[in-house]
């Protein structure tokens, strides 16, 4: 009896070994049939690591993706799915929707961008899935700067699908990036209308603000300043994009040769509410607008303030940039976003607080970290080692990508600031000369005519129905941001007016 039992046990123990001897995909099937999921996963890893079994790689990736998900390893499963689609996309057609849901739940739709982009011709997908797939792929292509490809892929998005509004907005952005501003307005307006009509549209207000900002930018790109100003003004005051929209509105006024309103729009950014925001361009634009009105005193003060504010920022960037690699830059930006003290100047990192892509990367890397912690507790075997490697690689890849964005932004800022700070010194000297000339003229004429200030206020009150007119006394109230107007006399000396000084 004991001899019979020993034999039976030996057979059971031998079964996997015998299957392993057969090798290849069959080993996996045998193990699976025997309910030995971990052995099955190990067998699949063996197949995937063997270039001679390349013909089976497509089904092996699919199989291991499914197995890993059942083992509670969704991130490793997602990586495997991305390989499965890349290797044999058509066979994964029935799984695409599920995989996109998995990617979204792990905040890593980006991993599917390249593989979906290369396989947009998969047959047998329903309209919502194909549209969603096309949107994810097109967004990836846009981020890589492949505008033509992105545009082509977006043609596959069908009207009425949940991603239609997003896809139209993306189409508008791509067209604007291609310089086709006139063509870009229609898809953007369509996107806004589609989102507004949708019964349940996530983050509808935010989407509306982004689209309005993009429409404004498109008009700006087309040189239609009036329309651009109109659309910049439509961005809601409560929106995180409002201050940016107001800044860009100032540019539109400036390009429209309306220095008064450019100054008015920029006055908002000069208030204490925006201390610590990174807006060197706003300071310079204000200085330039003041300069064109020959407000040399104010322009000089503006440049002095610019130098005072941004010299330390430029120096800090100079000292930190060499010391940070991509991973450190990502960690630094993350520290700031989470309320900590970063090594890079905080004003440089402010935009990352509202950066969806960065937020997704943070969430995704956190999920990868959780999974790696789980893998560390599992028995060390081939599929565990492989899963650990895949998740680690993907996490590092995302960290490197986002870290590179942080560094890229910081490097560009450093270069711009260095150049501008040098130019500011020269401008200050020029300005002093012009200021002297202006005082000379004032001494000669002996009269400063500022017009009838009270009369101006009264006229404004009559002219602007539906508005309240308040005098400005140097004190900034939160509710007045964005409502400033400027009506300043130009103080230009004759020589400047005649163009002698230019």
């Amino acid at each position: 009896m004991i001899r019979k039992l020993t034999l039976a046990a030996a057979l059971v123990l031998a079964a996997p070994a015998m299957a392993a001897d057969e090798g290849g995909y069959a080993t996996y099937e045998l193990a699976l049939r025997a309910g030995q999921l971990e052995n099955a996963a190990d067998a699949l890893v063996a197949v995937l690591e063997d270039p001679e079994q390349a013909a089976d790689h497509g089904k092996a990736w699919r199989a291991i993706a499914t197995l890993l998900e059942t083992q509670g390893l969704p991130y490793a499963s997602l990586v495997a799915w991305s390989h499965a689609i890349a290797t044999d996309a058509q066979s994964t057609a029935g799984d695409i929707a599920k995989v996109m849901d998995l990617a979204a739940s792990l905040s890593d739709e980006e991993i599917l961008g390249p593989v979906l982009g290369s396989n947009v011709g998969i047959q047998g997908l329903d309209a919502p899935t194909r549209s969603r797939m096309a949107y994810v792929a097109a967004r990836h292509q846009l981020r890589r700067g492949n505008l033509g490809t992105a545009l082509g892929i977006l043609m596959m998005v069908e009207e009425g699908t949940p991603v239609f509004a997003h896809a139209m907005a993306l189409r508008g952005v791509v067209l604007a990036n291609q310089g086709r501003h006139a063509d870009a307005v229609t898809p953007l307006v369509t996107a806004q209308a589609a989102a507004r009509q949708a019964a349940d549209f996530p983050e509808a207000d935010r989407f509306d603000d982004v689209v309005e900002l993009n429409i404004a930018r498109t008009y700006y790109g087309a040189g239609n300043w009036t329309q651009a100003i109109e659309w910049f003004n439509r961005v809601d005051r409560k929106s995180e994009y409002w201050a940016q929209a107001q800044f860009e509105r100032a540019w539109a006024h400036f390009r429209n040769d309306d220095m008064q309103q450019a100054l008015a729009a920029l006055h908002t950014h000069d208030t204490p509410f925006f201390d610590g925001w990174y807006w060197p361009e706003a300071d310079l634009l204000r200085a330039y607008a003041l300069f064109t009105l020959c407000k040399f005193g104010s322009a000089t003060a503006e440049i002095n303030e610019f130098v005072e504010t941004y010299t330390p920022v430029s120096e800090a960037l100079g000292s930190q940039l060499g010391a940070l690699d991509e991973a450190a830059a990502f960690a630094d930006a993350r520290t700031f976003v989470e309320g900590g003290t970063p090594k890079l100047p905080p004003m440089m990192l402010r935009d990352f607080r509202h950066d969806d892509r960065f937020a997704e990367a943070v969430a995704g890397t956190d999920k990868a970290k959780e999974e790696l912690a789980k893998l560390a507790k599992m028995t060390d075997r081939p599929f565990v080692r492989a899963a650990r490697e895949w998740v680690t690689d993907r996490r590092d890849e995302r960290v490197a990508e986002e870290g590179a964005r942080v560094l890229d932004r910081a490097r560009k800022a450093r270069a711009e600031l260095s150049q501008t700070l040098q130019a500011a010194e020269i401008t200050r000297v020029d300005m002093l000369q012009m200021q002297a000339e202006m005082y000379e003229r004032a001494t000669e004429t002996g009269k400063l005519d500022f017009g009838d200030q009270i009369g101006k206020l009264r006229n404004l009150r009559k002219a602007r129905k539906g508005y309240r007119v308040w005098p400005y006394q140097g004190e900034v109230w939160a509710d007045e941001l964005g409502w400033f107007t400027v009506d300043a006399r130009a103080d230009c000396p004759e020589s400047l007016a005649e163009g002698k000084a230019r």
Partner: protein
């Protein structure tokens, strides 16, 4: 050194003038505060909106009767300044300690006083002043100050045991402030002086009476009309 008197006067003038000139800044080449104006879109428009509210009031300036009361208000705003207004309310006047003392055996006098029971008034509101308060730099409270003139009727009751009723034609000037709590609500603080003429049966005389009512209330606005 001593100066001749005329020169001393001249230099004295210079000395006194110098600081004045020094204190005057040269307003050239700079953007002045006066060059900037705040042209703010109406945050709380009232035109073509209806305002309903409930107010707690207290007629407290009468030596003999103190009357807590509740008022319901309705206003239709014709524009940002002018509104048609209806206020109806009721309350009950309680004898003051002074009255009770007079009633007591010590004095044995019962003054012929009337208590407020209710009123209905209609008229106009005019809000010429619009202003705002800065609470902490970031929290701004907008408010307007209005005057109102309403007319109507008040019902009063004698505090004597006979409890005779009097129906009095009433003219009611008022001033108040409306503090905006949001797009659809406002807090009111108002002072209203109801001027009554009432026929009092006991002595068969016409009497003039003032009910000075201080009210605090909460009002709600109808939705903003679509732009034409």
């Amino acid at each position: 050194m001593r100066f001749p008197r005329r020169l001393a006067v001249l230099f004295a003038g210079l000395w006194s003038a110098a600081p004045v000139h020094a204190a005057e800044t040269v307003d050239i080449g700079v953007l002045r505060n006066e060059d900037i104006t705040v042209v703010q879109q109406l945050l709380y428009p009232k035109t073509r909106r209806t305002e309903f509210g409930v107010h707690l009031g207290y007629v407290g300036f009468d030596a003999y009767v103190k009357s807590p009361n509740v008022q319901l208000s309705f206003a239709r705003h014709l524009d940002e300044q002018l509104a048609i207004s209806v206020v109806a309310g009721g309350g009950y006047g309680f004898k003051t300690s002074a009255y009770r003392e007079l009633e007591s055996p010590t004095y044995g006098v019962a003054p012929y006083a009337y208590r407020y029971l209710g009123s209905v008034l209609a008229g106009v509101e005019y809000a010429p002043v619009y202003a705002k308060l800065n609470l902490d730099g970031a929290r701004i409270v907008h408010f307007d100050v209005y005057g109102a003139l309403r007319g109507g009727a008040t019902v009063e009751q004698s505090v004597l045991p006979d409890a005779e009723l009097a129906f009095a034609p009433t003219l009611s000037p008022a001033v108040g402030a409306r503090f905006y709590l949001g797009q659809s609500a406002a807090m009111h603080v108002a002072f209203r002086d109801d001027l009554l003429v009432e026929r009092r049966p006991l002595n068969q005389e016409w009497a003039f009476k003032q009910n000075a009512n201080v009210t605090v209330g909460l009002t709600f606005f109808s939705a903003r009309p679509e732009r034409r």
